[in-house]
């Protein structure tokens, strides 16, 4: 309890906790879950965009998309490294992803159906992710905070690229504009869900906020996202698929319709449009890759043995 008080005092004072420092078991556990899920989200998040790499409309767009997906894999790598400092290996985390014990962001269980979805994912999904992540740059755990700083920089670049795609589509041919609107229609509510259910319904929130693992409430961030995104949609000439969306002069915020939370829980349970495909793809990559990992490991051991023998 004394240790606990001292720990909380350090956090309150804005100090960073480092891997070798003492930390409560719950802090460690919550962080592993959160960082792990975040890492998994980057990995699974390669798939919906990877789905359009082979169909990118120009060489330039193909290069940009490739670079983006590469960045996501890189983010996964930073985050797994951050999690590893807490005493869990990347392979353990991977296996928990693959057998369903750990989750990834539900947004990646939605399909990408047109090129405009590459815009919508960048603009809305990365936009919501950044909204979640920017405050986490100030999170109390040092390695996580540093990973978030790197990641946020790249993510905001991705978001601008996504918005740029939407702009091209919205200003393009009637078919392109229709594609852009269709993408917004499909991604609007799933993006709002990315902030999680209302804090009223969230049990862990209070402790996480005290530990500075969570910096804002879900509802605060969702509101901020809506307030930021609606004018951007207007600028694009697109219609947010919410007939009840209105500017509230009094609060200085938009009033908006909550997403269908039963859909959210369905997706979480595994009934999203692509849960099965996403997990199957990752499992296949892992299973098919076993001989490669084994082969490279065996070679490294042989090489080391030869070096030893030569010494």
């Amino acid at each position: 309890p004394e240790k606990l008080t001292a720990f909380q005092a350090r956090i309150d004072a804005g100090e960073k906790i480092e891997p070798k420092d003492w930390m409560p078991a719950g802090y460690r556990k919550t962080l592993i879950r959160q960082i792990g899920q975040h890492a998994h989200s980057e990995i699974v998040g390669q798939l919906p965009e990877g789905n359009w790499i082979t169909r990118a409309p120009t060489l330039e767009r193909k290069a940009i998309l490739l670079a983006k997906v590469q960045d996501e894999a890189g983010h996964g790598l930073y985050l797994y490294c951050a999690a590893e400092t807490l005493g869990v290996s990347r392979d353990e985390l991977t296996e928990m992803l693959l057998d369903g014990r750990m989750k990834y962001s539900s947004i990646f269980n939605y399909p990408t159906l047109t090129w405009a979805d590459m815009g919508a994912v960048g603009w809305l999904v990365d936009g919501a992710a950044i909204m979640n992540q920017v405050p986490l740059q100030r999170t109390s755990f040092g390695p996580y905070s540093r990973a978030m700083i790197r990641i946020c920089k790249e993510e905001s670049f991705h978001q601008r690229q996504g918005y740029d795609i939407m702009m091209k589509m919205a200003q393009g041919t009637p078919a392109q504009k229709k594609m852009a609107q269709d993408a917004l229609n499909r991604f609007w509510y799933p993006s709002l869900m990315m902030f999680g259910p209302s804090d009223k319904d969230s049990v862990h929130s209070e402790q996480s906020m005290a530990w500075k693992i969570k910096m804002n409430t879900n509802d605060e961030l969702r509101q901020k996202f809506v307030d930021q995104t609606v004018p951007q949609a207007e600028y694009l000439g697109l219609t947010v698929p919410d007939p009840d969306l209105t500017w509230n002069e009094e609060t200085g915020h938009y009033d908006f319709t909550q997403p269908d939370w039963s859909e959210f829980f369905d997706v979480l349970k595994g009934n999203g449009p692509c849960n099965r495909e996403r997990l199957a793809a990752r499992n296949k990559a892992w299973d098919d890759g076993k001989w490669v990992r084994d082969g490279l490991l065996a070679h490294a051991e042989k090489k080391a043995a030869r070096r030893m023998a030569a010494e």
Binding site: I43, Q46, L47, G50, I53, T54, R55, A56, P57, T58, L59, E60, R61, K62, A63, L66, A67, V69, Q70, A73, G74, G76, L77, Y80, R90, W115, I165, K168, M169, G172, T173, A175, Q176, A281, K284, A285, W286, D288, G289, K290, W291, V292, R293, D294, G295, L296, L297, A298, H299, A300, K302
Partner: protein
């Protein structure tokens, strides 16, 4: 065939190789055996697509018909593609992909090294820029071929199968025809056949380290770099690659 027609052909051969192989490599995105490989494969694809923009951009300029690099990539049918057959072969397993990559990278490096001294400074410039990237590609693909060849018995078996499968596509990279003769005469590019000895030496060394056996037969498939007869794989690739440009002609993306 005028000199510029030959030059255009030559540039399409360079650019279609990188375009088609880059596309194949990009198919791995999100599906590699380990995260570092996802990153490395995406990086290789990215380099190859970047090189495509330069080669096909110059090809379009030489052609002077108002086409762009994107037009060449997205609006030609299979018969107008000039990539070697090796580049369009399917990914197969990771070993097959890396074997294909090494067999190509090793040729690619030698070709770009020679092109860096091209009499055409645009060609020399593209080659100088590309050669650094490709030196890294070959380092990686070579290490992987060696590592998996000299790994477990399973990985060895798969790599030998990949080599047996793909070796018949090696010879085409060193074929010479009238286009190559015209390029050599103009000092723009070397005769590909002149690169074969250095290639064979490197290959022999690599396969020895990888404990893999080069096939006896030098039989070589051909028909890609002339466009006479691609494999059935290319057409299927183009249905994906060109889909949006074909479906929405004239749109800006």
């Amino acid at each position: 065939m005028t000199r510029d027609e030959a030059f255009f052909e030559f540039l399409c051969r360079m650019g279609d190789n990188t375009l088609v192989l880059g596309h194949r490599v990009s198919e791995w995105c999100g599906h590699a055996p380990v995260l570092e490989e996802d990153i490395a494969l995406a990086n290789t694809a990215l380099d190859l697509i970047g090189q495509t923009q330069m080669w096909l951009g110059l090809a379009a300029e030489i052609e002077g018909d108002g086409r762009s690099a994107d037009d060449l990539a997205m609006l030609r049918d299979a018969w107008d593609f000039r990539n070697v057959l090796l580049a369009e072969q399917p990914n197969g397993d990771f070993g097959q992909t890396m074997m294909r990559q090494y067999l190509f990278d090793q040729y690619h490096l030698l070709m770009l090294q020679a092109l860096a001294g091209s009499s055409d400074e645009r060609v020399a410039g593209i080659a100088a820029k590309s050669v650094k990237e490709v030196a890294y590609h070959v380092e990686r693909s070579r290490d992987t071929v060696v590592g998996l060849g000299d790994g477990t018995s399973e990985s060895h078996r798969r790599m030998q199968a990949a080599l047996d499968l793909l070796y018949p596509y090696v010879g085409e990279m060193f074929e010479s025809d009238a286009v190559d003769a015209a390029m050599e005469e103009a000092g723009i590019a070397p005769d590909p056949a002149s690169l074969r000895d250095a290639y064979d030496a490197a290959l022999t060394q690599t396969m020895a380290e990888a404990t893999l056996t080069l096939p006896d037969s030098r039989f070589a498939h051909s028909g890609g770099r002339t466009g006479f007869r691609h494999t059935e794989h290319l057409g299927h690739m183009l249905t994906q690659m060109q889909w949006l440009q074909r479906a929405y002609p004239g749109a800006t993306w």
